[in-house]
Amino acid sequence: MKIVVLIKQVPDTAEERRLEPDTGRLDRDANEPVIDEITERALELALTVKDKDKSTEVVVLTMGPSEASKAIRKALSMGADSGIHVLDDALSGADLTITSAALAAALRNTDADLVIAGNESTDGRAGIVPAMIAEHLGYPLLGSLLSADITHGMVTGERQTEAGTQNVRAPFPAVLTVTEGFDEARFPNFKGIMGAKRKPVATLSASELGVGSTPRSSVLDLAERPARAAGRKIVDGGAAAAELVDFLTAQRLI
């Protein structure tokens, strides 16, 4: 079985994240980039399949600047077999349309049985790219799964929706996305870190993939929201509850 995992390098949510005021693009110097945790969970699912069946091949695919090669190396050190890096300055500032077209084009040549991604990235939070990829490839989509059982050419799983849960299934090849219900990623061990250096990483440009680089959507303007100021802080000496109720009354909140 061949599994391709989509990983994404994002600004660390534990630090302040910034946009460039002129372009609306991510300010990549403001914050240490990391692999988005949800895509690490996607990789963990693929590696769990590989743990059970050693013949499983796990490939990680990402699109991003040269810095994103670090995310690929980390995934390789965790146990992925090889990486594909869609790398092209022309793709800088790509929107959902370009991103999904480029990733779908890269996937088309991989013969993947399964494409696994996170349900939504912590930066854009659109939750749309995997669906667009599924449509490009004509693969069934199993989005926002809480659990997945991957066997014999079939994925079954439980899916979270606004109304409750659904049990769904689809044959290979398919695209599935994981939620935070899935396990956290394993840590790379020393052997994995040493071995990662010898694993192959292919680099693909926009022209090699035959995709354009003109976005469909454009940012018109952006404004930074002023930081919230701290208000009144009181130490409870027995009267705090009454002060709180008075505050809520004065603010017409109750």
């Binding site: 930066d123 659109a126 454009s218 130490v235 109720v245």
Partner: protein, 322 residues
Amino acid sequence: MPNIVVLIELTHTGHVPASARGLLAVAARLGTPVAVTVSAGALDPVTIAVLGGLGAARIHAAQTEAAHTVLGTPMVDALADAVAAHAPSAVLAAASVDGREAAGRLAVRTGGGVLADVVDASLADGRIVTEHSVFGGSYTVHATVPDVLPIITVRSGAVDDQAPAATPEVTTVQLAPATGSQTTIDSYADAPENLSRPELRGAATVVSGGRGLGSEENFVLVEQLADALGAAVGASRAAVDAGFISQTAQVGQTGVSVSPQLYVALGISGAIQHRAGMQTAKTIVAINQDEDAPIFEIADLGIVGDVFTVVPQVIELLKNRS
């Protein structure tokens, strides 16, 4: 007025989802709202009346036997059919699990552009401009799709007005069976509807609990204060990870983003990921034993104290008040 196509995700039991009101309100601002539904049989007259009451001028009622047994594709097919029939100037869907997937797939099929997770949309100089709240409300960004069909997902609870009621003109269409490989829905387990408590998304008041509650049993205190305030219940990721409450209650970067009038944080330290999901609340109140907790940096009223002492007193005072 141009048509605005709106995806209404009818549940398998035929319910109109809560997101329909805000979606139709935005659509009415941008043009004539055309609601798109997918059902296995004829559309229930009650559903037609509900959608009319929420402002649907037209209903594009797609029918297919696969409505609730094939995942996603019937919605995409219905939307594509509605786009061909009504030549809209935009398509709106909820930024829900189903809505965003349908929106993305429709964009690929129609060659449209996507504007995702918007908190507002308006017409400016004849074009549709969307507003986005980025990085947990740190930035407000305006965007547009200039040349092709804009396909817009709207964050649940972000829009709280309602369109004027209309008497919908209903067009029923039969969808051709989907071709190609599909995802099958084998069964549904509906979450019990909690009628006594508002939904977290869009709630005017939210009371959230964190690790400071200490246990699942103690977390009841959060629910008690929420009920005393008529509030929805939320939680920090630490509380969810500790198993105090289910993940659907998680407020923050990787959970639900809320912008209530009042946000009460109980035993929540205020990690940056949590703040990203609630810092756009109008008023923030925090109670925490640790006086250095970062939540106090953004709280309008911060109480350094024991939640197990202060909260029961607050509940008692609220009871006496009413």
